[in-house]
């Protein structure tokens, strides 16, 4: 029943907007699927509310317009009715409760390793942005790419996000929602791809002049092909030196690039760890000094 309803809503949305499915509603991974599911459910229930309000409004406007009433009709004085008002509170409360339930559940789902691939070891990729590029480091494979991303399908991927510059937002609409990348801490985003294919990813948070072109390509391939790609890169690509990386950080646009080695070796990701006790472990002096020295 629910599925039928969702399919119905989905058809309406697609028909209304032209033929090609919208990226967000055309998920290629479990996280994006969950989000598309939430979006469609909310569109469905919300359309119901919209229809109710529209119906009442149109009915009232037609029935009670002045031109339809006798000139000496005096509208009555009505203070309110507690049952009607209770209904107006009650139904929204029920809907909001339901949505809260869905929302909380989804929060924990999208913030965790994708359920379908729980037993698999996640692939860790450090994605860092600089004005106006994306750097992807694969620490285990010891590879770094610029402005394009190669990922295996059917395996959870753990993105570690941070930024050399303004706040940016890492977003691959077809794999899942976005998350900020910031200068002084690392955020984590869990994604996974169900099927191979080409996708577009971008920085969604305004970061200055070159923001509009701050995009990257994502290629999802079966794990076998991914391993082959890693092997190829290791044989062909040049190593990433500190000097080269500092050059890459300069503001501007770059094409796609591939290196062996990662910048994490000489320029580690920012440290920001909080313990659960409420007393944060600060980014203390030595760490910062180290970070500063590294930057010099």
């Amino acid at each position: 029943m629910k599925r039928l309803f969702l399919a119905f809503v989905f058809t309406i949305v697609t028909v209304l907007t032209g033929c090609e499915p919208l990226k967000v509603l055309d998920p290629k991974g479990p996280q994006a699927e969950r989000q598309a599911h939430d979006i469609l459910i909310s569109i469905g229930i919300m359309s119901f509310i919209v229809i109710v309000v529209f119906t009442i409004l149109i009915y009232v406007l037609f029935k009670y317009r002045a031109s339809k009433q006798s000139p000496d009709y005096e509208p009555p004085h009505i203070e309110g009715n507690k049952w009607v008002e209770a209904l107006c509170v009650g139904i929204p409360v029920i809907i909001v409760t339901y949505f809260s339930f869905v929302s909380v559940q989804s929060n924990y789902i999208v913030e965790a390793k994708p359920k379908a691939y729980e037993d698999k070891e996640p692939l860790v990729i450090y994605a860092s942005s600089s004005n106006w590029k994306w750097h992807f480091s694969y620490p285990e494979e010891d590879i770094e790419t610029v402005n394009y991303l190669y990922i295996p399908t059917d395996r959870p991927i753990e993105f570690k996000l941070y930024s050399y510059g303004p706040i940016t937002s890492f977003w691959i609409p077809q794999l899942g929602g976005q998350k900020y990348a910031m200068a002084d801490m690392v955020t984590t985003l869990h994604l996974a791809a169900d099927e191979p294919g080409e996708m577009i990813g971008r920085n969604a948070n305004f970061s200055g002049k070159g923001f509009a072109e701050n995009m990257f390509n994502v290629t999802a391939v079966p794990e076998k092909d991914f391993d082959k790609w890693v092997k190829d890169v290791k044989q062909t690509a040049k190593p990433l030196t500190e000097k080269k990386f500092n050059e890459l950080l300069k503001p501007g646009h770059l094409g796609q690039m591939t290196f062996t080695g990662t910048h994490l070796d000489f320029k580690p990701a920012p440290e920001h760890n909080h313990s659960a006790s409420g007393k944060p472990v600060d980014c203390n002096a030595e760490e910062l000094l180290q970070k500063n020295n590294n930057q010099k």
């Binding site: 909080h274 659960a276 944060p280």
Partner: protein, 93 residues
Amino acid sequence: MSELFPRKQIMGFVFSLVLTAAALAVYFLDLTFAQGITVLLITAFVQALLQLVVFMHAGETEDKWIIYGKVYFMIGIALVTIFGTLLIFLWDM
């Protein structure tokens, strides 16, 4: 004569000194973080209430409830802001 003597003010002053001394316990005694914060929260808010009632005469006119309501509303929102921010930045990150 009794009306001329500022009894209320002197009581208030003595009490506020006592509260300050009590708050100093967190410095001189070896308390855990939780105990210390509890002591500070109690002494600070009692002290604030004391000033509000004894010295600021918050409740002396017909607007008493509006003034108290306003101040408590603000304190409520202030606490929400402080703890909400701490929740976002320190406790759930």
